[in-house]
Symmetry: C2
Subunit: 358 residues, 2 copies
């Protein structure tokens, strides 16, 4: 089982089909004696990949819009294990011992296994080392960054026969194992920049498009408090139905958000991201101080502030580093006033590279 | 009572405030003897304006996205009536005698009255003649085109002291009197092109932005069947709540629609417009044959097809006139198969001018 890429007018459609024709052109192959089947040989013995943090949901962009940000991320070292088959997790650093070394129960294991399905048969096993740069359950796409780094590192061992767009399928399976079948973290962590998920339903091709942002004056203020906001709990906070008026509001603000990105309008991005009336009001009360943080960010000069991913990290939008510093202090103070300590507070730019070899 | 225009980064915010400072610069004034108050003098005795048809709702763009299209529209002739005050409707053609000549009960009357409120005191009365080029209740923004033409013609009598963006307020009051407080028809009929309504709530400034479309290969196939689809009935067909999954779908498709417009991607515009899962499924069953029309349009090569405005007109998107002709025939046949006669079938481009003097 492998894939087909339809790339029409800027929209990528990624679909599993029969035989990966592109592999023949992109990678060396070893034919086995038994039949005409071929197993792919690695082109290097070790490959290290980094994948960035992401900010998903983005207010009205819930479940369909995310972006990659500079700064921290996760790193995976993939090593060839000759004369073996399968995926092995050698070590994990930076997780406080919380993640499983069982490849079936860890997002790098799932992503690597799914990446091998996309590549086709290979003639070796692969061991993985994960260094987590992102806190777990922070709302900054920690699991997606691990999965993206693993997929890109494993792919790199074989000369990168699979495109980043196609690797989203591997990442999606990994994401599904931890937080649900959503591409708004894994898409930007692999590809970089703002990614609009046009369609993402299991059994259908994933459709996504990159939304180019042309200015250099967009900054994200990310404040991560010491608080657990498990994705499952945050998802359960959402009501199964929403009022029609909320639909109209979120659609129009989602449209304005896309317009803000494509026209390089930072104030518009901030205001639109700030205007979700469905998800944020349901989730913010579960994060102590979040509404105070939001108000403080705007009072300090941010164009808008909302929950990053499923939280607890808060994200504010500014177009000036100095304003960002003031906003960051105000947000930290507000979290503390709400009773939470602050893990990290950062002012970061958009990451436009996504996963990369290091 | 008058207005203030905030124009920040491509977003117009139109708000009623105290005194129209801009008037002093743009128009001649007559000071009365009684006090320092001044009444504006007309600069011409007659002014004729045309305003184009519009396609609002646009699938997931329900209540927040519309565009103006070339071809038919409504025309209003405004004439100065010396030594009188107020708005008078002299005649209406093309409505089959269905519209009221009472200015308080007719959208041109309401729009003209509201336009005068924006201009300030004037020293004459105004009579209006309306020529309707658009069928009533067609879903092509018939009432908005009348209101836009009336507002622009009245404004023109006084040297156009009020900008088109500000005149949206006059149009909104007119629209509210016939179909609700929605700017997705009046906005594009006045301004032309695609207009995103970012905020439109009575008592708050209207916020909107123009979404430039840079290509010339976008065609709308508009097929208007002989059928009444009153806006009130079509609005009543909508449920008060929608499933969360439908919110996500419509937000992502609305975002894709904006991305399609701003990147000049006609297939993407068509597919996104075709993908509403909230409004179209509730309203289409009220228009005989609509689902057949939609299927026929796509089978004939359209990128997507949905209900224009509140219907009954169906709109399909193509990027080639020849395909449009085939799509048009298929849509007409499908309406007839559904039991409806066809009034008009047209293939039109985007109108980028909006209301204009003729």
């Amino acid at each position: 089982m492998s894939l087909q890429l339809r790339h029409s007018n800027g929209v990528y459609s990624v679909k599993r089909t029969t035989r990966p024709a592109f592999l023949a052109q992109n990678a060396s192959r070893v034919k086995t004696k038994a039949c005409a089947k071929s197993a792919l040989k690695p082109v290097k013995s070790e490959c290290t990949a980094f994948a960035p943090a992401t900010v998903a949901n983005l207010g009205p962009g819930f479940d369909w819009l995310g972006c990659a940000v500079e700064g921290e991320g996760d790193t995976v070292v993939a090593k060839v294990v000759p004369d073996k088959k399968g995926i092995f997790i050698e070590s994990i650093e930076g997780d406080g011992g919380r993640l499983s070394l069982d490849p079936a129960k860890n997002c790098i294991g799932v992503a690597a296994t799914e990446t091998l399905k996309l590549i086709g048969e290979v003639d070796c096993g692969i061991s993985l080392k994960l260094h987590k740069g992102l806190p777990l359950g922070s709302g900054m796409g920690s699991s997606a960054a691990s999965a993206a780094a693993a997929a890109w590192a494993v792919n790199g061992l074989f000369g990168s026969p699979v495109s980043k767009e196609l690797l989203i399928n591997a990442g999606l399976e990994s994401e599904a194992s931890v937080s649900g079948y959503h591409a708004d973290n894994i898409g930007p962590s692999l590809l970089g920049g703002f990614i609009l998920i046009k369609k993402c339903k299991r059994g259908s091709p994933v459709e996504l498009m990159s939304l180019p942002f042309s200015k250099d004056n967009l900054y994200f203020v990310l404040v991560n408090p010491k608080f657990e906001a498990p994705t499952a709990k945050m998802r359960a906070a959402l009501k199964p139905t929403v009022p029609m008026a909320s639909l109209v509001n979120n659609c129009q603000q989602g449209g304005a958000l896309v317009a803000g990105i494509l026209t390089g309008n930072v104030p518009l991005i901030g205001e639109a991201l700030d205007s979700d009336v469905v998800v944020e009001p349901a989730r913010a009360p579960l994060i102590p101080g979040m509404m105070l943080v939001k108000a403080a960010a705007k009072a300090a000069g941010a164009y808008g502030c909302t929950i990053s991913g499923a939280g607890p990290t808060a994200v504010a939008i500014v177009d000036d580093v100095k304003v960002g510093e003031r906003v960051s202090r105000a947000m930290c103070d507000a979290f503390r006033a709400g009773g939470l300590e602050v893990n990290t507070a950062k002012i970061v730019r958009l990451n436009t590279d996504g996963a990369k070899f290091v």
